[in-house]
């Protein structure tokens, strides 16, 4: 494994910033949808689609591709924005999010966008589908398969028993071709995860099911790069990357505030937040300012 160069890290940071701006623009246009999770996961999606994944936007269904299962379908704005920036479809199409006839359904649906690996929305079912893919891959290609199955999931959906049923089976089967990435942003709709349904000690729970656990800063590309590659080197276990992220990352007034889990900017006034008509502009201003600090690159 080669380390990422400083220039490469800067490129990825700029791409992630552009994707965040697209997410805000999509949500402003859709007038509904989720803000915090998509912004928080933009760096990990950017890393996967611009660095880590074996995939091909020109030929999305080629059999040897890595698989990405998005379990918490409600953060699909970041999936769609990343896929568009990676070349799966025109960036302009992002503005059709949640509109009638759009390929970009409110929660992902393969019927509308066949490049998706799964349809999702109801929480807690993605990991088990990824486990099924990993089992099938092992039947076909043996334990040294070079294919990787990624499941991107939220911490909130670990309240669901189905998530842990999948984790248990993956541990039993020693699925080394499986990497789960948990967005540990500590929020869910009703509040902070540890108040709603405590998950800690989270890493110990995964270890107890025979998983290799890596904890990272989900906004640090070196961390992400090292963890994704370390997972490939672990032979006996499936790997979970617990990615500590900041919900709403990049938009000052949204960061770490669970109220922004399930709403877009610009539709309601909220106590302590910018007036609704200013929310969109302020969010984009924040992100452009960060883009300027990264420096040296222009927006798409």
């Amino acid at each position: 494994m080669e380390n990422l160069t400083d220039d490469r890290i800067k490129e990825l940071e700029v791409t992630a910033n552009n994707i965040r701006q697209s997410i805000i623009e999509m949500l402003l246009e859709a007038k509904s949808g989720h803000s915090a999770g998509p912004l928080g996961m933009a760096d990990i999606f950017t890393y996967l689609y611009f660095e880590g994944l074996k995939h091909d936007p020109e030929n999305p269904n080629f059999p040897e591709r890595d698989r990405v299962v998005l379990s918490n379908g409600h953060i699909c704005p970041v999936l769609y924005a990343t896929m568009a920036h990676a070349g799966y479809f025109p960036i302009e199409e992002l503005k059709t999010l949640r509109k009638f006839g759009s390929r970009l359904q409110g929660h992902p649906h393969r019927d509308f966008l066949p490049a998706l690996e799964t349809s999702s929305g109801p929480l807690g079912s993605g990991l088990s589908q990824a486990v099924g893919m990993a089992l099938a891959d092992r039947i076909d290609n043996g334990i040294t398969s070079s294919k990787r199955i990624y499941c991107l999931m939220s911490d909130g959906e670990l309240d669901a028993g189905n998530s842990w049923e999948g984790a248990m089976l993956a541990g039993k089967e020693n699925l080394r071709n499986l990497t789960a990435i948990v967005d540990r942003n500590n929020i869910q709709i009703d509040g902070y995860t540890e108040n709603i349904m405590p998950l800690e000690p989270l890493a110990d729970k995964w270890r107890a099911w025979n998983w290799h656990v890596i904890e990272i800063d989900g906004h640090n590309f070196e961390d992400i790069h090292n963890a994704v590659n370390q997972a490939k080197a672990v032979f006996e276990n499936p790997t979970v990357i617990i990615a500590h992220t900041i919900p709403g990352k990049g938009v000052g007034y949204m960061e770490n505030d669970y109220k922004w889990h399930g709403v877009p900017p610009g539709i309601q006034n909220m106590e302590g937040e910018p007036a609704k008509d200013d929310q969109g502009k302020e969010a984009l201003d924040d992100l452009r300012s960060i883009g300027g600090q990264i420096g040296g690159y222009h927006n798409d």
């Binding site: 698989r67 393969r110 690996e117 099924g132 248990m168 089976l169």
Partner: protein, 326 residues
């Protein structure tokens, strides 16, 4: 006319559990296509999946008592090109894991085959918790799902082999108890096609439509009714979805009165599907034999069928009621 078992009405008619036909069918499907995989939720022998497991251990996954995982793992395997069969008791799959089946199998368009064993009230002594009498309703309501309820073990074997060849989700409803073998090796089976198993000819006054093992009770009823001078036709409706609408309408036109018979809640079951078809095409008086908004309880099959109104006598009474409504 369909060729049926010549010993059909003999006292020593061969009896085999319908689930056994599934087990043999899955083994045959696995031999014919190496994409077939089996997943079970800790009921491998009970659902007769052990025949497949013993032959193809590398294509079998033991999921444990986790039916939601059963459905979702199968969806993932289907996404990679496998043809997964999943088994448990019908009460738990498609009972407990309904939403996972809807979203990750049907909505996702993955060709997973769901075999629900111990369906119906005839499971008997285990009691109401284990008697799935809602499973036809909850499966037939899902887009893309094919729903098959075989009448005997031979039909279950054929249905399982055919299910493996489809590219859609399929639900196969299986009964636990030994069931008289009505069909023969040579009786044809095609998904979506019904068959007339008893034909009282042109003077038939009622068309009895049956799904599953109660077909045997209906055939006995038809024979006894004939002795009383009442002629009927009896249809085996193994595929509940897609419904053989053409044949059902033809039967209604020929007899002008319908009785539906199923070991299931009347609400949402096969009879409801028949009524949905007829009301828009050829409105016909119809009587429903099935469970009336109740849960089951412990007992023998015969005790329970009589208590909940699905035995031979109940079918005969329904025939006489519907004749009066013509």
């Amino acid at each position: 006319m369909i060729i049926l078992n010549p010993k059909l009405f003999d006292e020593d008619v061969e009896q085999i559990p319908i689930r056994k036909g599934f087990g043999e069918g899955l083994l045959a499907a696995g031999e014919a296509d190496d994409r077939v995989v089996g997943l079970c939720a800790d009921l491998t022998e009970s659902t007769q999946m052990h025949l497949f497991k013993n032959k193809f251990p590398e294509r079998f996954v033991e999921i444990g008592v986790a039916e939601q995982n059963l459905a979702t793992v199968a969806s993932g395997m289907a996404a990679m090109g496998k043809i997964p069969f999943i088994t448990s008791y019908a009460m738990f799959s498609p009972g407990r894991n309904w939403e996972q089946i809807r979203t990750t199998i049907c909505y996702n368009n993955r060709p997973v085959k769901i075999a629900g064993s111990h369906a119906g009230i005839s499971v008997g002594p285990d009691g109401g918790t284990h008697q799935a009498i809602e499973d036809i309703a909850v499966t037939r309501v899902m887009p893309r799902m094919i729903v098959i309820s075989p009448c005997d073990a031979l039909e279950a074997r054929k249905a399982t082999i055919e299910a493996a060849k489809t590219d859609t989700p399929v639900y196969i409803r299986l009964a636990r108890e030994k069931t008289p073998v009505m069909t023969t090796e040579n009786t044809p089976f095609e998904i979506g096609k019904s068959q007339i198993f008893w034909d009282g000819g042109k003077k038939s006054q009622v068309g009895i439509i049956v799904t599953g093992a109660l077909l045997y009770k209906a055939l006995i009823a038809a024979k006894e009714l004939a002795d009383d001078g009442v002629s009927v036709k009896v249809m085996n409706l193994a595929t509940i979805k897609p419904l053989d609408e053409e044949a059902i309408i033809e039967l209604a036109k020929a007899t002008k009165a319908i009785v539906t018979v199923e070991e299931h809640q009347i609400a949402g079951g096969m009879g409801s599907a028949v009524a949905e078809c007829l009301v828009g095409n050829y409105p016909t008086p119809q009587e429903f034999v099935g469970v009336r908004n109740q849960f089951g309880q412990s007992g023998t099959t015969e005790e329970l069928l009589s208590h909940y109104g699905m035995n031979t006598e109940d079918i005969k009474k329904a025939v006489k009621r519907v004749i009066k409504r013509k």
